[in-house]
């Protein structure tokens, strides 16, 4: 294969992946950037989420309590919307690395299934926010 190989660990770009093409390199670079950028956003989101879990369990965990907390401040639905978008990017890219490196699966079908999973997370997450804050 001609051209430089581009392999980034943790993004499903093993040295065996046919990523030596210009398009392959560009796609791998985008996956790297998206995985790290979403990780940075999620770092903050998960920190806040972990703190709010302790608070929520202490102050009573019920459907009514969750709904009233989500209505208390419009910043909460906005925060969770950012959280959902970041996780819908991060989780499928992480799974892509796992199915590539552990199962040796890659290609169009894998990417299509993972894109569908991203849509399920995005749709399901935003629907849940609407159900709680709408």
């Amino acid at each position: 294969m001609s051209g430089a190989r581009f392999a980034v660990s943790g993004t499903g770009d093993s040295p065996m992946a046919p990523s030596g093409t210009r398009t392959g390199v560009r796609a791998a670079a985008w996956r790297f950037v998206l995985q790290r950028a979403s990780a940075a956003v999620l770092g903050l989101c998960v920190f806040v989420h972990l703190a709010s879990i302790v608070y929520a369990v202490r102050s009573g965990l019920s459907a009514e309590a969750i709904v009233s907390r989500m209505h208390a401040n419009p910043a909460w639905p906005a925060f969770y919307a950012i959280f959902v978008v970041a996780v819908a990017i991060h989780a499928p890219l992480g799974l892509r690395a796992i199915v590539d490196e552990w199962l040796g699966l890659r290609g169009f079908v894998v990417d299509a299934v993972l894109a569908l999973f991203a849509l399920v997370l995005l749709g399901g997450g935003l629907y849940a926010i609407r159900a709680l804050a709408g």
């Binding site: 943790g10 796992i98 849940a128």
Partner: protein, 116 residues
């Protein structure tokens, strides 16, 4: 051919990699269920409340604590990875960073298990 031999697997960073990967896998599989349960809050609040009551059963609480541990471990391990990749790698800091990440995750899981 696997690039990891037994010497590589004996290193603390390899265990950190394994924990990061397995916790990420668990969380990814859990998320659709999490979203589905929460989406019932408005349409079927009674069912959500029944579900929340069920999560207080000891076995379910233990599984929930494991999930929370996975989330805390994935966060702590992820912060460590971002620091390694974007701030810099120092050989003498790695074991400290791994120990801190593990301790933070375990401490939070303990807080969750004993909370409420």
């Amino acid at each position: 051919m696997h690039q990891n031999d037994f010497r590589a697997r004996g290193h603390a960073a390899w265990w950190a990699f394994l924990v990061h990967r397995i916790s990420g896998l668990l969380l990814a599989l859990f998320l659709p269920v999490h979203f589905f349960v929460l989406s019932q809050a408005l349409s079927r609040p009674a069912q959500l409340n029944d579900f929340l009551a069920w999560t207080r059963a000891p076995g379910v609480k233990a599984a929930e604590t494991l999930l929370v541990l996975a989330l805390a471990a994935h966060l702590a391990g992820g912060v460590r990875l971002l620091l390694v990749e974007f701030v810099g790698w120092r050989a003498e800091w790695q074991k400290t960073a791994l120990a801190l990440a593990g301790a933070a995750a375990l401490a939070y899981a303990l807080l969750f298990a004993l909370n409420g």
